[in-house]
């Protein structure tokens, strides 16, 4: 056996790599073992059996995605300590003048905007607890508020390159900029969000009445008191603003989004750590890096290598050919098929492995659709399906589980079926809107 010259015993790389992919994804879906461990073992298996050599494995890893994720995670880990998320929630309570329907809509908008600019999970992790405090004070049931925040976080995250991990991978792999995402996805996201607000208003908002004394209390809230560190707030806003401007101009200055995010993280770390003693700096630095979700990062690393394995083995090219045969090589049919398949699958399983696998599949379709430019509608279909599909079930996206976890502990149970009955039709609505949008904008 040659260690890196071919697959063990001369086995067919197509079947060996496909088998490793199937086993890896089956174990990931079973959720019996931490997903990062499974992905890394799958990656190791691809290299050990010779489906990939080490150089090919390293090439398969999208370091821009990793840099963007780590950079944004560090920025948020520092910025959240200023209390700015709480400030926004309390501000929404005041501005709504304690009217439950207005609060419902405003908290959704705040969640959507923050999820678009930062990440979904952190946004809901910080907004949901304050929402529970506010609804407790207002004496209204918290469930509708938390439910709409889940939907809003996934919808808002769809609008930008950095809003949701599937967009980060798609953007990096397909070389799409921050502006490309905003220009192409923000309009449809805006429509979906508006419809969502309307439906939530009809289901819950219009029926809720705040007790007058409670409303008065809410109107007396002092949002400024929710800021725990003003200096940190200014530093964070400055750097986040700089990073977003960087994203907007990334193309013109020839930089990848990952570089900008990590540079921003380094700058905010400097601003935050510099006034401290040297030892305290190290401590703070370790603390912030402890908040990076390493499970997600290494899950991505493993997954990229597993996907590179099946790509080299030929599975994805074969699958792309199959899809094209089924859709007759028609752009509109292919795009709509990708949109719906991604939405339904992302509601049931983790959307990240799905998106990571679909990227090379779509890239393989380039010759049929006239090169990279012709693939654009397919990227938008994949992003809309994968991100919005997460709203379909309670396990469809990490933000859903985060809110459910907090709510459960606070005595507000989230049940799988109860959530599904409302959320799944709403998710379908968003995909129908996306289908119409796709058709009108790209496929006519």
């Amino acid at each position: 056996m040659e260690p890196h010259g071919g697959v063990w015993f001369g086995w067919d790389p197509f079947w060996v790599s496909t088998l490793i992919l199937i086993i890896t994804y089956t174990v990931i879906i079973s959720e019996r073992v931490n997903r990062a461990i499974v992905a890394l073992l799958g990656a190791a298996a691809m290299i050990l059996v010779g489906a990939l050599n080490q150089e090919q494995a390293v090439e398969g890893v999208d370091f821009n995605t990793l840099a963007l994720l780590v950079g944004m995670m560090i920025l948020v880990a520092i910025a959240k300590r200023s209390g700015m998320f709480q400030y926004l929630a309390v501000w929404a309570a005041r501005v709504s003048r304690g009217q439950p329907w207005a609060l419902l809509a405003l908290l959704s908008v705040v969640t959507a905007v923050m999820s678009a600019l930062l990440d979904n999970v952190t946004t809901v992790l910080l907004i949901a607890p304050v929402t529970l405090v506010i609804t407790d004070q207002l004496k209204v049931p918290p469930y509708p508020f938390l439910f709409t925040e889940i939907l809003a976080s996934n919808i808002g995250g769809t609008a930008t390159l950095i809003g949701d991990p599937p967009n980060i991978i798609i953007g990096s792999a397909a070389n799409l900029s921050f502006n490309d995402f905003v220009i192409n996805l923000a309009p449809v996201v805006f429509v979906v969000l508006l419809l969502q607000l309307l439906i939530n208003h009809l289901i819950w908002g219009r029926q809720m009445r705040g007790d007058p004394a409670a409303r008065e209390r809410v109107m007396a809230f002092n949002a400024k008191e929710a800021i725990s560190d003003w200096t940190l707030l200014y530093k964070s806003l400055f750097v986040i603003g700089l990073v977003i401007v960087g994203f907007i101009f990334a193309r013109f200055i020839g930089l990848e989004a990952g570089t900008i995010a990590l540079a921003g993280a380094a700058l905010l770390l400097l601003l935050d750590c510099f006034p401290r003693e040297r030892e305290a700096q190290t401590h703070r630095f370790n603390e912030m890096f402890g908040e990076v979700e390493w499970v997600t990062i290494f899950f991505f690393v493993g997954l990229f290598i597993v996907v590179a394995g099946v790509e080299h083995g030929g599975l994805l090219e074969w699958f792309a050919d199959g899809v094209l045969k089924a859709t007759g090589g028609e752009l509109a049919t292919t795009a709509i098929a990708i949109l719906w398949a991604s939405a339904i699958l992302s509601a049931i399983i983790d959307n990240i492995p799905f998106v990571a696998t679909m990227i090379p599949v779509i890239k393989n379709m380039a010759p049929t659709f006239g090169g990279q430019e012709g693939l654009l509608p397919l990227w938008w279909a994949l992003s809309l399906g994968a991100c919005l599909g997460g709203n379909g079930t309670l396990i469809g996206a990490s933000a859903n589980l985060t809110v459910a976890g907090i709510a459960d502990r606070a005595g507000v149970p989230f049940r799988f079926m109860t959530f599904l009955k409302l959320a799944f039709p709403m998710m379908l609505m968003s995909i129908i809107v996306s289908t119409i949008y796709m058709y009108l904008r790209y496929l006519m």
């Binding site: 949901a128 529970l132 407790d136 007396a220 809230f221 002092n222 008191e225």
Partner: protein
């Protein structure tokens, strides 16, 4: 010397169907930290302590880890808190009793008791292992009094 010689053998206790307002009265009047909850046969079921009472007065979400950094945005809220005290008063303490405090055994050594006080910063219930019955309550003041030879 063991825990049984130092402890308070006649502690104030609650039954599962006693109300929160009764518990609040005893806690405030006697300045106790904990009130053990026992069943009809005197078996230990858990404690309701002063922190549980404070927790009931706060929005639930604010008592979970550090998810809500502060509540100062709520402003001056004394009337609201007074109303809340009334609202929570009628519920029974049974479902609120927490069995998670470490237990002292009557035959434990004082140094082991000191370690548990040091780690858990609370008065602790003394429970007989075999019968599961509450036999007393011991505070760190009791322990210090025994060591220094003063009266507790």
């Amino acid at each position: 010397m063991t825990v049984s010689t130092i402890m308070n053998a006649k502690p104030a206790t609650l039954r599962a169907d006693d109300s929160v307002s009764k518990a609040a009265d005893i806690l405030q009047e006697k300045r106790y930290l904990i009130l053990p909850v026992v069943d009809g046969e005197g078996r230990y079921a858990g404690v309701f302590d002063v922190w549980d009472l404070l927790g009931l007065l706060l929005p639930k979400a604010a008592t979970l880890d550090d998810l809500v950094p502060n509540l100062s945005f709520l402003g001056d809220d004394l009337p609201a808190l007074q109303q809340r005290m009334k609202d929570i008063g009628s519920q029974p303490v049974g479902p609120l009793a927490r069995p998670d405090l470490p237990l002292l055994r009557p035959d434990m050594s004082p140094v082991e008791a000191l370690l548990l006080f040091y780690r858990h910063r609370s008065t602790l219930p003394v429970v007989d292992e075999a019968s599961g019955k509450l036999v007393g309550v011991m505070s760190y003041w009791d322990a210090l009094a025994a060591i220094s030879g003063r009266k507790a």
